[in-house]
């Protein structure tokens, strides 16, 4: 296997270069566009060298967009705030609900436990709109339409199966004997759970939380269906922004950059756990 010829190495190098260009180009290009004025963006052929400007970002952050026709209000920072709030709260709720359940599923094989675990798993694979469309009608009746509580509840569809199945695997990896020894010392199950199981499964819980955050942040369809403008996260907000602001391509690019940076940064930080999380614990990285 080791005798690779020079030709092969060159071909491999070319192939890898093409792969990197294809996958990185859009991100780099949008990043560059976000530092350009509309005039340089609209120039043909596209410019690789330009004078960078922070105007797009200042417009987004101050929420005021100066155009020839006057000043436009941009609600993008609000979308960004919504994204942060919805993702963080959903993950927190999910951890609160999911970690004890994962522990129960891992430690006690009780009647119906597998059924519940698999039902939750199957939600991950069911079409989102199947649940969302009737839910819009229910939410209107319940007064949950366009509320953060309603959104956080449906976000459990994304976060809960992920947390349950990943954390369950981590709990199962802890030898039952360790917990047993601690309980013989006269400690209650809760003390055992808190002092032994939780710390040992800690890294797994953190990883599952990070992944759930990324998936919640990247979700589009839930908020598109259930939230109106003031509650929308960036994924939906950016789409509305494109239609409302028309030709402000620099600002749109800056908005996209701000929207994807948190997940990219978290992914880099958590990349060790990504394989496991993405395959719901089926493949270890």
């Amino acid at each position: 296997m080791e005798h690779t010829s020079l030709l092969e190495r060159i071909l491999r190098g070319i192939a890898l270069t093409l792969v990197v260009i294809f996958f990185m180009f859009p991100i780099v290009w949008i990043f560059m566009m976000s530092f350009q004025t509309n005039e340089t963006i609209l120039r043909i052929p596209p410019q690789l060298i330009f004078e960078p400007t922070l105007a797009n970002y200042t417009a987004l952050i101050t929420g005021k967009l100066m155009t020839a026709a006057g000043t436009l209000d941009i609600a993008f920072m609000r979308n960004l705030g919504n994204s942060v709030f919805l993702s963080v709260t959903s993950v927190a709720v999910s951890l609160l609900l999911g970690v004890p359940a994962a522990y129960a599923f891992a430690r006690h094989k009780f009647r119906g436990s597998e059924d519940i675990a698999f039902t939750l798993l199957s939600f991950k694979f069911a079409p989102a709109l199947l649940v969302l469309l009737p839910l819009t009608l229910y939410f209107q009746k319940l007064g949950l339409a366009n509320t953060y509580i309603g959104l956080i509840w449906v976000y459990q569809l994304i976060c809960l199966p992920l947390i349950l199945w990943i954390v369950r695997g981590y709990f199962e990896d802890i030898p039952a004997d360790i917990e047993y020894a601690y309980r013989i010392g006269g400690h209650s199950w809760f003390a055992t759970f808190r002092k032994i199981a939780l710390p040992l499964a800690g890294p797994g819980i953190a990883a599952a939380g990070l992944l759930a955050f990324i998936f919640a942040w990247n979700n589009f369809v839930f908020a598109l269906v259930l939230a109106s403008a003031d509650k929308q996260p960036v994924t939906v907000g950016a789409l509305a922004f494109i239609t409302s602001s028309g030709i402000q391509y620099g600002q749109i690019s800056a908005a996209i950059v701000l929207s994807i940076t948190p997940t990219l940064a978290l992914a880099l930080y958590a990349q060790r756990y990504l394989v496991e999380g993405l395959s719901l614990g089926a493949v270890k990285g």
């Binding site: 609900l97 989102a128 199947l130 469309l133 047993y180 990247n218 369809v221 994924t235 997940t263 493949v283």
Partner: protein, 307 residues
Amino acid sequence: MTAVVSQRPKPSGFRISKRVLPYVLSLPALLVCIGILIPFLTSVVYSFQRYRLSQPWARQFNWGDNYISFFTDPKFWNTLEVSLLYAGTTVVLELLLGLAIALLLQKRSTLNNFISIMLLMPLMTAPALAALMWKLMTNPGFGVLSYLASLIGLQDFRWASSPSTALFTVVLVDIWVYTPFIMILLLAGLRSLPTQPFEAAALDGVPRSFVFFRITLPMLTPYILTATLFRLLDSIQQFDIIYAMTQGGPGDTLTVFQVEAYLNFFQSTNVGRSAALMIILWAITYFLSNIFIKNWLRLRERARGQA
């Protein structure tokens, strides 16, 4: 494990009966479960009704009419065809590309690890935002890809706004986002394979094509199957990329299941038809997810055995 638990001495202090405990712990998750099952059952009911939001007075059960009318409805066949075409094309192309990249990066080296981490970035980009990025790049006025297309002689290449290239464009975005998913799973699979068979083959001077087709591929099959089914389940339900890019258009070129159901619900307010579409999609995904879960469980057992 259960045996161990039942032998334990009685702990002191406040306690909940050990028979009840697991139920108590999983009750909140169970409640969320039920909260989601109710709208699901509602969907089933809706799918058997004539139900338009614009004509609430005419709401009544028509039993299978929504489903039966699909047989003679060219729009439904278009939805089915586009969905299958989209799912089939994206999964096959992503599998081939993902496998090729995984093989290129197989050897552990600083550069390879760095590239594989870089390639995760598209996957971590929200698909809806990825679609917007590509929309900007394929803008006919200033889009860099439109410019590049014109350089290679494709004047006035319309990307997602022309019916003949719309599917190609959204498939391209899907490939950009999700190929790294297959790549990263297969790379983990490749790197976890035992080395002995490869060493033996190298000693015997077995040709590399033989090694690939007779050793690598068969041993990688569970990973390939899991990754493929995972993607297939996702891809047949694709909504974000298509909706953000074209809203199902131009015309009804890209009205895949979820997009069509969404438009039926919110534009033509035909709840009955929308629900019936979702039930059919659910049946397809249910069938696929059963195959998937069997495979996934086997792989999960293996991964946990190694841990």
